[in-house]
Amino acid sequence: MAAFLSGISIVCFAASYAVALACEASRLAFRSGVRGAAMVAFAAAGLFAHTLFLFWRAVDGGAAPLSSPFDWYLLAAWLLAAGYLWLTIANPRTPVGLFLLPIVLGLVGAATLASREPFLHDAASLFWGRIHGGLHLIWSVSVVLGAIAGLMWLIQAGRLTRKEAPVRGFRMPSLERLASITARTPMVAAWAAAAGFASGIVLNSVNRGRGLMETVPWTDPVVLRMAAVVAWLLIAARIAATARSRPDGGRTTARLALVSLAVLAASIAWGVLGTTRHGRPATAAAVVVPTATEEVP
């Protein structure tokens, strides 16, 4: 059993998701009676392998979910893949996978570039670390779902404006449904991101007190990008709330959701490619920089 579990690699589930995505794309080309079953089968197989992979990392390597950037990305991808499977079973005629699966594959790709080193922690920092990682997961997933709904809104609105019949195999949900998603997700994302940022400050303080990890300075790229993301998401949530009562509110919130996704993507790219002390073990040279926790009023 252990040999089987250890043999599951990222390629296994990424390939399954890729095949499911190819099946989704084929909706535009031809009709098929078995495609729906094939899509669900490949997505389910991928999710199963994905689950076993995370499980084996937790059991064998002691890498609980959210314990490293690598695991964080894979858990975010897992959540979106599970959402895709559920949405496809519930709404088989909506090609949600065309929008969701590329992001799932993107997150899996980001995971392969991200550090697999687990964050060091003791009991207190483990608690705050999970809160911190969990909140980041919530806002990231909210932003992705909001952006997908926003993109679908714009596509559907474009068709309705051009007064065209729906394209076969590419039937979007109604504007009303999509607008309700794009209106809610900015709120969830903004509050989760703000709380995640605050929990990061607390975590930084706990780590510094125990000397487990490097304290993260305010000038660290991770702190800067998260501050920018939180600021943007709060602004976006505010605009989305006021746009609700305007006739073109749906379009505004849809565009905001796409900008939020771009912000998230830039943030991830910055996190993957940039240098940071976020989550690094303590070194002797690292304690002279003014820290975020010291600057908290």
Binding site: K163, R244, S245, P247
Partner: protein
């Protein structure tokens, strides 16, 4: 086995004559009872819709289906029409052409609107009436079952019936449903009380619409339609207020100028609190100023917009036609193969009986000469004989089945009868 069809459709019979030729369900039952008396031993099914009247007749076991001219006279007599006038307008088909025709009809391939689904229910009803009238036998039962199966295959394996092609259905399913997720919490406003408004409302009701208000210049017509469709009538001077409260407007007045000009709508817009509005302007000339469609949150569709979508859907259906015809062809060939194979049943039965009889006689002789054989041994020997007989019979029976796919296998049947001395 013979099949015959006599009938006329919207393509061949003028409406005035089609109206006289049409049968209600009761009249169809009476006609079939008369058919049973006139043509004993034959099977018959009468399909009568607003676009076609067709009589399917069948005969089996040496009894042929009635000749087409007799069927023409029968139909004409039933409806009191001059057979000489009717005859040239009716089509006549035989055997596999009948099968292909019925399969195509059931699948909606011969309908005025390609792929329309109502015909399937009408075919089912026609067969049910024939069953009740005891004019449907094994042949027509097999034929109509196969027709229903073909129609289901065409529906599930092609997109022929998926795309909507009527303006009200396209307006609701492809456009209004693209904006709204549900209609049970929406206010629907009908401006005008015309037939198109009622038709569109039917689709909106199916989609869940409950709250419907009808505004019409002639209050009596609004009241009348409101009573028929369970809606609330409102005076025409309340139009502005009702527009402010509405989520979806269906406008079908006969007014010669815009009923809702831009300035009126701008006044209404301020009271709508940003709610989206779908306007289905089905009137010609248009009731809504086209510039209203450029306002944010307004989705305005006129007849031309919807007609273009209908046309696109029609073309989409046309593209599915070759696949649908291929299914009809495949099912028709399978049905005819089965039917031809049915004609070989008596010969096969005799052949089997002959082999079994001979085998049994030989076994009896063998068991008498070997009385010491245990019951288990006898059973084994009996099974070996049965297997031997089945294997020996398999090649001629397989040849018969194979030959049946390309027509009645008369040559093989004659050969078998002569070789094995079988009786007719």
């Amino acid at each position: 086995m013979t099949l015959a069809l006599v009938g006329g459709t919207h393509r061949t019979v003028p409406l005035a004559l089609r109206e006289r030729l049409a049968f209600s369900a009761e009249q169809a039952a009476e006609a079939l009872a008369r058919f049973r008396d006139c043509f004993p031993g034959r099977e018959g099914v009468l399909l009568s819709t607003c676009n076609r009247v067709e009589f399917y007749a069948a005969g089996e076991n040496g009894i042929d289906a009635p000749p087409p001219e007799q069927l023409v006279r029968f139909l004409a007599d039933c409806r009191g029409i001059d057979a000489a006038a009717l005859g040239p307008l009716l089509a006549r088909e035989h055997d596999d052409a009948v099968v292909r025709h019925l399969f195509g009809v059931a699948a909606g391939l011969d309908s005025m609107v390609l792929g329309e689904p109502q015909i399937l229910a009408q075919v089912k009803q026609a067969w049910a009436i024939a069953q009740d009238s005891r004019t449907s036998g094994p042949l027509t039962a097999g034929l109509f079952q196969a027709a229903l199966r073909t129609a289901k295959r065409v529906t599930s394996e092609t997109a022929l019936c998926r795309e909507r092609v009527s303006i009200p259905s396209v307006a609701v399913a492809d456009f209004a449903s693209g904006v709204f997720e549900r209609f049970d919490d929406k206010r629907v406003l009908l401006v005008g009380a015309g037939k198109m408004a009622a038709e569109t409302l039917r689709y909106l009701r199916e989609a869940g619409a409950r709250d419907v208000v009808i505004v019409n210049r002639t209050v009596a017509r609004a009241d009348d339609l409101a009573a028929r469709v369970d809606a609330r009538p409102a005076a025409f001077d309340r139009l502005e207020r009702e527009l402010a409260a509405a989520d979806l407007v269906v406008s079908t007045t006969g007014a010669s100028d815009h009923v809702v000009p831009l300035d009126l709508f701008v006044r209404v817009e301020a009271k709508r609190q940003g709610r989206p509005l779908v306007v289905l302007d089905l009137a010609v000339p248009r009731d809504f100023d086209p510039r209203i469609g450029e306002r944010p949150g307004v989705w305005l569709y006129c007849v031309d917009d919807l007609a273009a979508a209908c046309e696109a859907n029609r073309k989409s259906r046309q593209r599915e036609l070759p696949r649908a015809l291929a299914i009809v062809d495949e099912e028709a060939r399978r049905f005819m193969g089965d039917m031809h194979h049915r004609t070989t049943a008596p010969v096969i039965e005799q052949l089997r009986a002959g082999w079994t009889e001979t085998g049994e006689a030989e076994l009896d002789r063998l068991f008498r000469r070997l009385p010491h054989l245990a019951e288990a041994d006898r059973g084994e020997i009996r099974q070996a004989f049965d297997r031997y007989a089945a294997k020996m019979l398999h090649p001629p029976l397989a040849s018969l089945r194979s030959e049946s796919h390309s027509g009645p296998p008369h040559g093989l049947l004659d050969a078998l009868k002569r070789l094995f001395n079988l009786q007719d």
